[in-house]
């Protein structure tokens, strides 16, 4: 039998109308849900999607800020940052063929085995080589290797290298100051990187600035008080002296007596801040700030000054120093050479321990303590250098007479070289002390803290000038053309609580005496050649550095010169 389609028995069955209605209702409901959802996404809650969309073409980029330069007082560069590249890799992605590895290794100054080992590391990120010059990095980029990337960093260079190493210090890997001025003035030098949001097109070019999130702050340049020329003079003469005297270490400080600026500061042994591969502690030490030593006779002028201030002694008051020995309690102090009766001035000139001790024993301990304290001994200068120490000045109430006597000539008290140099400001100026400054001052400070009267300072200048005469302890400190004044110091080193057969030789002085401009303090640690007296070891360094520095600064001479050998050339009248 043929079954006709139109007469299908299935179709002839009447369907209930509710089924069609239900279907229609379900479909409409589905539409309504879709419309509602799209309304929700497009109109009401569109922020999220918009953000997602923007993130496809918007980028936040970092704007790097450079660290400020460090300049000397005349603008010579002492530290400057230039960009370098660091090469890093994602080891998983960096599947290099042996040929590629061989190509890459020499560009990074590495051998192939080391590079292979680094790339085999089970880490997400490895630095292959940090801080290589940009042109070298470009060659690496030209190889176009997978998984090898580079990033821009700044590297700090120090053109004067070891000459300024201790003053300037250095920065660490994150461009933060670690030592010296780099640390002391870090807040000023450091820049703050900024960032901004931009739109990039498909070629990676920035086409629109959306907003600046953080403005970058460039690091500020710092003008130090340092004079690069004087610094070099000081460094090279100190170095020579250390070689000549087979010394262990040494330090030198040059101060401007008019302003308290630190014109030069060098220590040896030193290091090259551009290449800090094998640094040892001894090289890193900024001895002028961190090492204390017993100053010895360089402290005698302070005792004499206090004696003059008190009025019991005058410039010419005689003091009996014979027979060169003096017993106080159970201890005996002595002079290197026995002298007879000396005036106060001669006590300083000949550096008599007994003469100074006799003066010191007339003071109450508190007065002597407060004088030494006001000179700045016993507390750090707080210039911001790491590890700066204050030396040792014990409280006066524990002093025994013998201690007071030895302290008067610089034993039983310890100071740093920079403190010692600063304390001589009181003599080089008219009895006042200025705070020291590492940075260049725009104007000269008026007057510092007064510690002695101007009259005392003048008399001390005369005594200290006598010390460099042939009858004094330091004729080698003389400079032709200038009147100089200063004091030697030779102290035994304390080792394990007892005085050892090792010396610290020092010399502190200033010139020209008629109107002091510079103070130079020299310290030589453990001279072990033939000589060890401050007058033989440290005074010649003082003389050379002072002569060079005075000439550099163009300070007018105040002493008659040796007869002019070029007197035949007439000096034109209209010279300007």
């Amino acid at each position: 039998m043929r079954l006709k389609f139109a007469h299908s028995p299935l179709l002839s069955q009447p369907l209930p109308t509710w089924r069609a209605r239900l279907l229609l209702a379900l479909l409409l409901l589905g539409f309504a849900a879709l419309i509602g959802r799209s309304l929700y996404l497009q109109g009401i809650n569109n922020d999220f999607l918009q953000k997602k969309g923007e993130s496809r073409y918007e980028r936040v980029i970092e704007i790097s800020a450079t660290r400020g330069r460090i300049l000397d007082r005349h603008g010579d560069v002492l530290a400057v940052s230039t960009p370098v590249k660091s090469i890093w890799a994602i080891p998983e992605d960096a599947m290099l063929s042996p040929a590629q590895t061989r190509q890459l290794a020499p560009l990074l100054d590495m051998d192939v085995r080391e590079l292979t080992r680094k790339l085999a590391a089970a880490k997400d990120f490895v630095f292959l080589k940090r801080q290589i010059p940009p042109d070298q990095a470009d060659q690496v980029a030209a190889l176009n290797l997978p998984g090898i990337y580079q990033q821009r960093e700044y590297r700090r260079y120090y053109p004067a290298a070891e000459v300024t190493a201790h003053v300037i210090g250095f920065t660490g890997a994150e461009d933060a100051g670690q030592e010296g001025v780099e640390l002391a003035l870090n807040p000023q030098l450091a820049g703050k990187p900024g960032s901004r949001r931009v739109i990039k097109d498909r070629r990676g070019q920035i086409v629109e600035d959306v907003e600046s999130i953080r403005k970058p702050v460039e690091g500020q340049d710092v003008n130090l008080a340092l004079d690069a020329k004087i610094q070099y003079l000081a460094f090279s003469h100190l170095k020579q002296a250390i070689v000549d005297n087979k010394a262990k270490a040494g330090g030198i400080v040059v101060l401007d007596a008019k302003s308290g600026e630190v014109l030069a500061l060098a220590n040896l042994p030193t290091y090259n801040p551009n290449n800090r591969g094998k640094l040892v502690g001894a090289q890193l030490r900024n001895r002028a700030f961190t090492d204390t030593f017993e100053p010895g006779s360089t402290l005698k002028p302070f005792t004499a000054a206090l004696a003059l201030e008190k009025g019991d002694f005058r410039f010419n008051t005689p003091i009996q120093t014979a027979p060169g020995r003096l017993t106080i309690g159970s201890a005996t102090i002595s002079d290197a050479h026995a002298h007879g009766t000396l005036t106060v001035a001669q006590v300083i000139q000949k550096s008599s321990n007994i003469g100074v001790a006799k003066m010191a024993l007339t003071f109450p301990p508190e007065d002597m303590w407060s004088m030494l304290d006001s000179m700045g001994f016993g507390h750090p200068l707080k210039l911001g250098f790491p590890g700066e120490v204050g030396g040792r000045l014990r409280p006066a109430k524990n002093w025994r007479p013998i201690e007071q006597a030895t302290m008067s000539y610089g034993h039983g008290i310890s100071v740093t070289l920079i403190q010692l140099a600063r304390s001589y400001l009181a003599f080089a100026r008219d009895g006042d002390l200025l705070p020291l400054s590492l940075t260049r001052l725009e104007s000269q400070p008026a007057e510092g803290q007064r510690v002695f009267t101007a009259q005392t300072a003048r008399e001390l200048r005369a005594m200290l000038e006598m010390a460099v005469l042939p009858e004094g302890t330091a004729p080698k400190a003389q400079i032709s053309g200038y009147r100089v004044a200063g004091k030697t110091g030779t102290a035994h080193k304390v080792e394990g609580g007892a005085y050892a057969d090792k010396y610290v030789s020092s010399f502190v002085g200033f010139a020209p005496v008629s109107d002091p401009r510079l103070i130079v303090a020299v310290m030589i640690d453990e001279p072990s050649a033939a000589k060890h007296f401050g007058g033989d070891v440290a005074a010649p360094v003082f003389s050379k550095v002072m002569a060079g520095a005075l000439r550099t600064l163009g300070v007018a001479s105040d002493a008659p010169l040796k007869p002019l050998q070029m007197a035949a050339v007439p000096v034109p009248k209209d010279v300007r």
Binding site: D201, I206, V207, E208, I479, K562, Q565
Partner: protein
């Protein structure tokens, strides 16, 4: 009525085209600005490198060595210096 509509349509089209072209121009100028700023940064970098180079050449130790060894110069003795007062 139709004519006004046509004119308005034309104006709208012209405005739209102008907007497109000016935003394109703005982007071009902006790219130019970006390039110049990049050049400025590059020149800054070069300057710092030149400064470094200059201070390396002008190193006091090097200058002294050349002055002494090559040019046979020496500091005048104190007796050979004449200082004159500024009038």
């Amino acid at each position: 009525m139709v004519r006004i509509n046509l004119v308005l349509l034309l104006v709208a089209v012209i405005c739209a085209l102008a907007a497109v072209s000016s935003s394109h121009r703005a982007r071009k100028l902006f790219i130019g600005l970006e390039n110049e700023q990049k050049r400025m940064r590059d020149l800054d970098v070069e300057w710092s490198q030149l400064q470094l180079e200059q201070s390396t050449w002008a190193n006091h130790a090097r200058v002294e060595k050349i002055a002494r060894d090559k040019l046979a110069m020496h500091a005048p003795a104190a007796g050979r210096i004449v200082s004159v007062e500024k009038p």
